[in-house]
């Protein structure tokens, strides 16, 4: 087997070398979905045009996301005689200029560079890995993302890819499972169930046919870790799934990917075809006698299908409604009632490396109870948003303040939301908590699959709670009463509070409802739906009380509790706000103080943004007394 693979690897090396000639520059374009959203494909065309015009031979290729989304669009250049240099915030024009300076000329343009990957110092350009954004980061899952062309199996093989599979095929299934258990790997989908134990119970389960399913239905709003792995390193997930199939005795696998990820689906399908072509997938893999077929199943847009029994029903062609307890485990009776192993994208992608580098290596990273690394999608009100991979156990504060660079625009940090609609919000005083599966759970939030949304003082916590309840209400499958009606009730109360209709006792009612929904819902979606409300009440009760008792939204977010007005003393009548207002709610003669017609105003806040600082005439006010002094009671606003 080793020999068969060696022949394949040799071909890959030869193919790679023919492309990556040492005498020509390479240009790497970060073209995952986020890169494309900032114009990566236009940039690529501009670069190619410039190269052609100047008759420069170069290899231009697409790579996945290295995680520095704040710096997109990213272009990296490897020119003979120079280390690889990353350039950030590229546009077609800037990229053309860069090619002119650096490839037509010889100036690496330190003014445009973000960092370089070399060992030696380079005049005017810092080492990339010494930037604060990489402080304490350790790349295991994201090892290849942003470095290799995800559409080339040769590059993956050159990085050691599929050698973990070869090692596995030469061992007994029990040995593989033993290694996974020893590594301490826990499922990265959110629940953190020990992976080795799951695999072992699937191996033990009796069945003429078994299945492996990769859960890539990444539905948590605010999370995109799985998308990045699938778009940047699809083969690592495929390899992990084949190893799992061999270990439990399954010959078929499905990748359940959400429909909102077209690029991930495209790259996965391509990767599967390439792996088949090399006999790393399909019949008699590498002559081992082991067969494994893999196909992509496109989800159809239902958050609840992230739950294992719902996902299985969905592949079978049904409504994705979770099965109530008591029910047999999916590992015993899953897809078409056959034993089925279901793991998350990141869990599978770690397996090849555990096979290659050994369980002790993996267990040595992170904490004793939660070994390995965790990938977070750091977003929201944060200076450097993007993907972050750190050893488990790192303090939340270090992730947010050091790696993420803290809250921008001089605003104050308020909370961090983790775990999506199933998680909660943690305030500043909880930031010393280490990130692992168990600690965040105890604090009233959860690690979840890795979404981490930072909120600042311009975010209303009641509005955030309402946002999540609106989400779960919409996504509830409707089969059990506590989730279907309970979340609707909670949402109605939150809507009232945000609209200035909150009453004494609402908070207690929310707590009681939340508790019963958690106790009585049949699946994880319902059982965790109240978490965003309960955690915001726990840590930000004063904001709820301000809304209810004073009809005041401290963050100036809730439309029915705020209004915009122009201070006649300060207004110079410049007309800037009048021209910017999208609904023509502002009137006034030139050089005369302007007025805002409250009944027309949609609270978009543009007038406040455009009013020059030297006047500062537009203000946003809240609170019963203020609103009353402006001539209306909070409840009368039409919006």
């Amino acid at each position: 087997m080793q020999q068969v693979f060696e022949t394949i690897a040799k071909q890959s090396r030869a193919a790679w070398k023919a492309l990556h000639r040492e005498d020509i520059p390479q240009i790497l374009i970060g073209s995952a979905t986020c890169g494309r959203g900032t114009g990566a494909l236009d940039i690529m065309r501009a670069i190619q045009r410039k190269l052609d015009e100047n008759g420069i031979q170069a290899l231009v290729k697409e790579v996945g996301c290295i995680g520095m989304c704040y710096a997109e669009a990213l272009v990296d250049i490897i020119k003979p005689g120079f280390p690889r240099i990353s350039y950030s915030q590229m546009t077609p024009e800037k990229a053309t200029e860069l090619v002119e300076s650096f490839l037509v000329g010889d100036d690496p343009r330190p003014d445009m560079a973000l960092g370089h990957f070399g060992d030696q110092a380079l005049e005017g350009i810092p080492r990339l890995y010494e930037l604060p954004v990489f402080d304490g980061q350790e790349r295991v899952i994201l090892k290849n993302c942003g470095h290799i062309d995800p559409e080339s199996i040769d590059e993956y093989i050159l990085q050691g890819g599929y050698s973990g599979l070869v090692k596995s095929l030469e061992s007994q299934p029990e040995e593989i499972i033993e290694k996974v258990s020893q590594s301490g790997l826990r499922g990265r989908g959110g629940a953190g169930f020990p992976t080795g134990r799951k695999w072992a119970s699937c191996l033990r389960a009796q069945g003429d046919q078994k299945y492996v399913i990769c859960n890539a239905d990444e539905g948590d709003p605010g999370a995109f870790m799985d998308r990045s792995v699938l778009e940047g390193d699809p083969h690592s997930v495929i390899e992990g799934m084949i190893i799992a199939g061999y270990a439990i005795g399954a010959t078929r696998g499905y990748m359940y990917v959400r429909a909102e990820y077209p690029l991930a689906i495209f790259r996965l399908k391509k990767a599967i075809a390439q792996a088949k072509e090399r006999n790393l997938l399909g019949e008699n893999i590498l002559g081992s006698g082991f067969d494994f077929e893999l196909e992509v199943f496109q989800g159809a847009g239902a958050f609840v299908c992230g739950e294992s029994t719902a996902l299985v029903l969905s592949i079978e062609g049904n409504r994705g409604m979770p099965k109530p307890l008591p029910r047999p485990r999916t590992t015993e009776k899953g897809l078409w009632d056959k034993p089925t192993l279901l793991n998350n994208v990141k869990t599978f992608s770690m397996v090849p490396q555990i096979m290659n580098r050994g369980p002790q290596w993996f267990a040595g990273i992170g904490t004793e109870g939660s070994p390995g690394t965790a990938v977070f999608a750091l977003t929201g009100k944060i200076e450097r948003s993007g993907l972050v991979e750190v050893p488990m156990g790192m303090e939340l504060r270090r992730i947010i303040e050091k790696i993420g660079g803290g809250v921008p625009d001089g605003r104050a940090f308020k909370a961090v939301q983790t775990g999506g609609p199933s998680g909660g919000c943690l305030p500043d005083e909880m930031l010393s908590l280490p990130v692992d599966f168990d600690t965040l759970d105890r604090a009233g939030s959860m690690m979840g699959s890795g979404g981490m949304v930072v909120l600042d003082d311009s975010t209303c916590m009641v509005d955030v709670a309402k946002y999540f309840l609106d989400f779960t209400c919409e996504e509830s499958c409707g089969q059990c009463v506590p989730c279907r009606l309970g979340t609707q009730q909670m949402l109605a109360i939150l809507e009232d509070i945000c609209a200035g209709q909150g009453r004494e006792g609402d908070i207690e009612q929310l707590l009681a409802l939340g508790e019963s929904i958690i106790k009585t819902s049949i699946c994880g979606l319902g059982k965790s739906a109240p978490n965003p409300v309960l955690s915001t009440i726990k840590y930000f009760r004063d904001e709820y009380e301000a809304h209810i008792k004073e009809k005041r939204c401290p963050a100036l977010v809730c439309h029915r509790l705020i209004l915009y007005r122009i201070d006649e003393e300060k207004c110079s009548g410049c007309g800037l706000c009048l021209r910017s207002c999208p609904v023509q709610a502002i009137s006034g003669e030139k050089k005369e103080p302007h007025q805002i017609a409250d009944e027309e105003c949609t609270r978009c806040g543009i007038c406040l943004d455009v009013c020059p600082d030297r006047f500062g005439a537009v203000e946003c006010i809240t609170g019963q007394e203020n609103l009353a002094s402006s001539g209306r009671d909070g409840s009368e606003c039409p919006h």
């Binding site: 959203g37 995109f224 496109q298």
Partner: protein, 152 residues
């Protein structure tokens, strides 16, 4: 229509586990799921019509009325929400003269919400067809619409 749907279904072997891929294929070709489409899937797989309809209506991806030439999706994920996605939705509703979930009378645009497109670092995000527009401000909305209209 029935002929067209039957032709689309020839790519499948009629196994009932393929209901969702079949519905996706029909919607991809036709633009939405017409009643005849679901009936054909039912007779092709031997499932009851109510069963096929039940599956189709469960998933937010499927539409039962003709959609506009351009699909505008406003991302209402968490990161987009805290960065003012609702203002973008308001602006788009006003510009297009329709509410979220509706299609303009000239059948040019359909306006939808999507829970998260996973491009949170670019929030707020608007997706037109498969293209993601990042860091969209209300003043960019017109430009996004013009660009999509030009891409016919």
């Amino acid at each position: 229509m029935r002929e067209k749907v039957r032709e689309i279904l020839t790519a499948f072997d009629g196994d009932k586990s393929q209901v969702i891929p079949m519905l996706q294929a029909i919607q991809h070709e036709v633009g939405y799921l017409p009643e005849e489409g679901m009936e054909e899937v039912a007779s092709y797989t031997g499932l009851r019509r109510s069963k096929v309809y039940g599956t189709a209506t469960f998933y937010s991806q499927f539409y039962f009325t003709p959609q506009g030439d351009h699909e505008i999706k406003v991302c209402l994920g968490t990161a987009c929400h805290v960065k003012g996605a609702m203002n973008l939705m308001d602006t788009l509703e006003r510009e297009l003269g329709i509410r979220c979930g509706e299609t303009t009378t000239d059948n040019k645009y359909s306006l939808k919400r999507v829970n998260c497109v996973g491009s949170c670092a670019l929030a707020p995000v608007v997706m037109v067809e498969d293209h993601v527009y990042g860091r969209v401000e209300t003043k960019h909305v017109k430009g996004v619409l013009d660009k999509s209209a030009a891409s016919v």
